[in-house]
Every structure is written in C-alpha cells, then in structure tokens.
C-alpha cells in the first residue's frame, strides 16, 4: 500500500498540502478531485517521492519512501505528469520503451518488446508507433506518455509479491471523450490486475464511473473522502467548487450535473 499519513507541504509561506492522509491500495482506483490550486499536483509530488513532506510521512508497504533508491521505486510506481517537456525528436516507440528503463537490468526473462507493444496497443497508439513524437498533437502525446507509464508498471513480470502503483495527473488532458474513457478503462483494467491507481481528475462523472474511492481537496485540506458514492455528492461539489450541482440517475449510473447559476 502507498500511504500518505498526515502530510503537509508548503511553497514558502503558502501551505499547499495541509494535513492530508490517503491510501492508494493495490487493486483499487482512487480519484483525487478539487479546484485549481487545491494542492492536487503537490500531493502527487509527495506520493511519487519527487518532494518530501515537511510534516507527516509517505510510506510504501510501511517503509518510508525516501528509504527506496530511485530505481527500486521506479520499478514499482510510475507517474504520468500533467505536462512534459520532451523537446528531442524520439519516435513514439522509443518514448514508450523509456518506460522500461528501470527494469532493464533486472529481469532478463521479460520480453521487453512485447510489453512495449502491448502498452502501445492499450493506449491506442499502435498505429503511429513509428511516427516522431514532436509531430504529434497534444492529445496524441498524452496517450504516448500514458503508454510509457503503462509499460513502466506493466504487471506480470518481476516478483508478483511487490505491489505496483500508477499515479496519473490529469490523464484526460487534451483527450477526446472516447479516449478519456479508454484511458480510465485501462487504469481500471490495471487495477483488476493488482495495480494501485491514483488519478487526479476534473470530471466528477469519470470519477463516479471508474474510481472506487476519492479524496476531494480544497485549499490543501481534505474536504471529503471515502467511496465515490458517499463522498462525491451534489452538496460537496456545490460547496467546494461554488457551483450548483445535482445528481441524476440514468440506467443505474449516477451522473453529476452542474447548473448555470442565474445572475
């Protein structure tokens, strides 16, 4: 389990993460929601080990994150960033292969090429594997990075006793609606194979449809948490985002609708 226990973090005097606790469990999808600047990405940095919390601890299977070497950690969790700054013209396949970097010298029995191939198929980028990364559109690049992350946490190789984690920071950015669903279906599928998935989302309905639990952040603090059914209510959304929201049910699926507020 990847756990944050009462973590806090600040940039200068501004506290961006304030006493937050959450657990990314193997086999589960946890959604993190909240308005812009609520501290979602900062919380992710703490979970991924990119930053150390000023207070509280982040642990992986009970051991503090900082006791892991960068490479050992990279074999067990991958992070999809919101933006990437790759300015060199790799091919799509080369970018996805980069996800296998931490595994390269560990387990020789894994067919690296097959993993890369499958990850590309899952992210629906197989048809432009040989194109150059810089010639792609924003949404296509996002899917390439998703495939890279999938390749990095690909289940089934190395020791299965070690749980793996996938951290996705707004993975649906720039994606068309069909690929937004594909992306979260893949995340869900990985979860059924035992990967713990944490996902920053802006769309409540994607969270309702694909996540098990969620954490709603506001001003660096947890405003609501628990299963999506209990935590993601119209009241919480109205409260946190300052918009009117209402829940409707359609064929057994719950859908949150936000309403324009008359001036």
């Amino acid at each position: 389990m990847l756990c944050a226990d009462k973590v806090s973090f600040s940039y200068g005097r501004r506290t961006v993460v304030d006493n937050v606790s959450l657990a990314v469990e193997p086999g589960k999808v946890i959604a993190i929601l909240g308005p812009n600047g609520a501290g979602k990405t900062s919380l992710f940095r703490l979970l991924s080990g990119g930053e150390e919390p000023e207070e509280g601890t982040v642990t992986l299977d009970g051991k503090p994150l900082k006791s892991f070497a960068a490479e050992a950690l990279a074999r067990r969790r991958s992070v999809l960033p919101q933006t990437s700054q790759l300015g060199f013209n790799f091919t799509v396949r080369e970018v996805v292969e980069m996800g296998r970097l931490p595994h390269a010298r560990v387990d020789k029995s894994v067919d690296e090429e097959a993993v890369v191939e499958q990850a590309m198929a899952q992210a629906d980028i197989g048809n432009f594997a040989e194109r150059h990364f810089l010639s792609l559109s924003g949404g296509e690049r996002q899917r390439v990075h998703l495939a890279r992350c999938l390749a990095q946490v690909w289940p089934g190789d190395s020791t299965p006793a070690e749980s793996r984690y996938l951290l996705l920071d707004e993975p649906t950015n720039n994606l068309d609606i069909s690929h937004q669903h594909t992306c979260l279906r893949e995340a869900r599928l990985l979860a059924t194979k035992g990967v713990g998935v944490a996902c920053i989302l802006h769309d409540f309905n994607l969270a309702l449809a694909y996540a098990d639990t969620c954490v709603v952040l506001f001003d660096g603090m947890v405003r609501a948490s628990g299963t999506v059914a209990t935590a993601l209510t119209a009241e919480v959304i109205s409260d946190v985002f300052g918009v009117e929201a209402t829940m409707i049910e359609h064929e057994g699926q719950r859908v949150l609708v936000t309403l324009a507020r008359p001036d």
């Binding site: 940095r45 490479e71 960033p81 990437s84 013209n89 091919t91 080369e94």
Partner: protein, 350 residues
C-alpha cells in the same frame, strides 16, 4: 527524417565511423610539406611497433611531428564532441555547446590564472610545472558549468535564453580578463597569444602533452558511454527522470564534472576550439535520432573525424604558415548554430 537503425544493427554505424576515422588518420600522416607515401607510413609504424633499431629517413616527421598531433586531434575532437552531447542532454537543449555557454572561457580563465598567478605566489617547479595549467583549467570549467546550470534553471526547467545569455556574459568577461592578462601582465614566454585562447591550435603538440590529455580524456570518454540511458530519461525533465528511476542529483553532478573536465583539459593544451561540441552531436542526431546510447559513441568518432579534417586543413591550407583551427571550425559551426537557433526560435522568449 533520421534513419532509425534497430539496436542490434547499430554496431555497424560505429564500425563504419571508426573505419573512416582510421583511414583519414592514415591519410593525414602523409599530408604536409613533405609528402610521404602510404608505404613509408606503414614502414615507420611497423618499425616503431617492432622496436626496430633501423629507421627510415621520414621517421622523425611521422613519429615526432605528425602522429602526436593527429592523435591529439582525435582525442580532443572526441572529447569536445562528447562533452557537447553530455551538456546538451543535461541542459535538454541542442544549443548547449561548451564554447557558446561559456565553459571553454571558464577553462581558459582557469588556465591563465594557473599560468600567471600560481608562479607569482611561489607555487612552481616540480610536478606543478606540468600539472598546474590543466588542473586550473579543469577547475575553471567545472566551476563555470555548475554556475551556468544553476543560473539557467528556473523552477525545474532550463531557461534557454538565460543559458545562452549567461554564456555571452561569461565569454565577454573571460575574453576581457584573458586579453588583459596576455597584453599587460604576463611576459611573452608565460602565455600563449590571445588568439590561442579564443581560436585554439594544435601546433607543436608533442607526445608528453598527448599523454597527459589522454589520462583525463580516455577515462572521461569511457565513463560517458555509461551515461546514455540516464541522459535519455533526462530529456523528459528532471522530475520525470527521477520517476523513471534515475538518481538525478548524482547523474547531474557526474555529467557536469565529466564534461567540464574534458573541456578543461583540451582548453589547457589546445585553446578554445569552438563548435565541435555543437556540430558533431547534431550531425548524428539528424542522421540517426537522439538516443544517447547511440549518440555518445557515434559523437566521439564523428567529433574526432571533424577535428582531424579541420586540423589537417589548418596546417596545410596556408602552409608553411598555420591557420588557427578555430577559424575553420567556426566557418562550419557558425552557420550550424544559426540554423539551430532558427529552429528553436519559439522557445527563446526573453
């Protein structure tokens, strides 16, 4: 579009480049005021390798004059090209050339300090006679590289304009200080001319200097070859590289130290030869893509080839006079730099 060669067949790129390099080196041995045939070159090398006591007439020209210079050109070309490729990986930008961003100037300043100030402080004689200049040059290079990296990093990203502007400033300061030192402080025997530090030269290189250079460059080059994988990850940004399992602080320091040491040692003995670190990696990237596992070794050989050609031209074009080698590398490298700059215009918001 670059040709993508499958990993298993990349060895042939290296074999081809090595073959070209060796052929050029052999040819360069024959070129000069005294024309020497390929057969005579072979005879001299064979005599030397078998420690034969009989030597043919052209032996001193080959063994004492041309061969050390050619070996030096190969070493320095490889060193500068790999240092350029390392820095471009570190700065995540193809414009990061050791000469342009000020590393060469920093090394030259270090070298001048070593030549003028150490003796005036009474630190001279013994091993310092040989070691002071290269050590000071390398120290200057390493210091300046750390400084430039810190100054051009804004919020985890490399700010290209800051990087290039810092280079301009360091180059200006370095040029002024060296100019002052050369014309006002030092005696003629102490220092090379100002053009040596700005344009470089391989004139008069002898075996001991080649040996000292190799002591630094050969381990540096070998260590660089191990950095291909982490540098590939680095191109995604520092945080991403960490996510991919790279020990970022360690690799960063290693890259800075190795590349700056290699630039420092070349500057100490051959002055500021520009643009090799820009042109050689760029040719390889254009031809075979940006993968550092291929780029670094291929760069070493293409840099060696480029500098060998440039140096052979420098000593023959205006013979018996010597052309500054930096003039030739700048004539080819300058337009290259402009082309890269135009391609990167969008990122250069100042």
């Amino acid at each position: 579009m670059p040709l993508r060669i499958p990993e298993k067949r990349r060895i042939w790129i290296h074999v081809a480049l090595l073959f070209i390099l060796l052929m050029l080196a052999w040819a360069a041995l024959g070129i000069g005021p005294t024309k020497i045939s390929w057969g005579e070159i072979g005879q001299v090398l064979l005599d030397r390798m078998t420690f034969s006591s009989e030597k043919i007439a052209v032996d001193p020209i080959i063994w004492q004059l041309r061969l050390p210079r050619i070996v030096m050109a190969i070493l320095v070309g490889a060193g500068l090209a790999v240092a350029g490729a390392l820095m471009q990986g570190l700065f995540r930008n193809p414009l990061a050339d050791p000469g342009l961003i000020g590393v060469s100037s920093g090394s030259a300043m270090g070298a001048v300090v070593g030549i003028i100030i150490l003796p005036s402080m009474g630190l001279t004689g013994g091993w310092l006679t040989f070691a002071a200049t290269p050590i000071c040059a390398m120290a200057g290079g390493v210091g300046i590289t750390f400084l430039i990296y810190q100054l051009s990093r804004v919020g985890g990203r490399i700010h290209v304009a800051s990087m290039l502007l810092t280079g301009i400033a360091v180059n200006a300061i370095g040029g002024a200080l060296i100019g002052l030192a050369v014309t006002k402080i030092a005696t003629a025997e102490q220092l090379q001319s100002l053009t040596f530090w700005s344009l470089g030269s391989l004139n008069g290189i002898l075996w001991p200097v080649v040996g000292i250079t190799a002591i630094i460059l050969v381990p540096g080059l070998i260590a660089s070859m191990w950095l291909g994988r982490p540098l590939n990850a680095f191109l995604f940004g520092e945080l991403e590289a960490y996510h991919l399992g790279v020990d970022v602080p360690f690799i960063k320091r290693l890259v800075i130290v190795i590349s700056a040491l290699m630039v420092g040692i070349t500057v100490a003995f051959t002055g500021g030869i520009g643009f090799i670190g820009l042109v050689a990696p760029h040719i390889i990237r254009l031809s075979f893509g940006p993968d550092h596992r291929l780029l670094l070794p291929a760069c070493a050989m293409s840099g060696a080839i480029l500098l060998l050609i440039a140096d052979t031209a420098a000593r023959t074009i205006a013979a018996p006079a010597e052309l500054q080698i930096g003039i030739l590398t700048a004539i080819i490298g300058g337009p290259f730099f402009l082309m890269l700059l135009l391609k990167n215009r969008k990122e250069l918001s100042i």
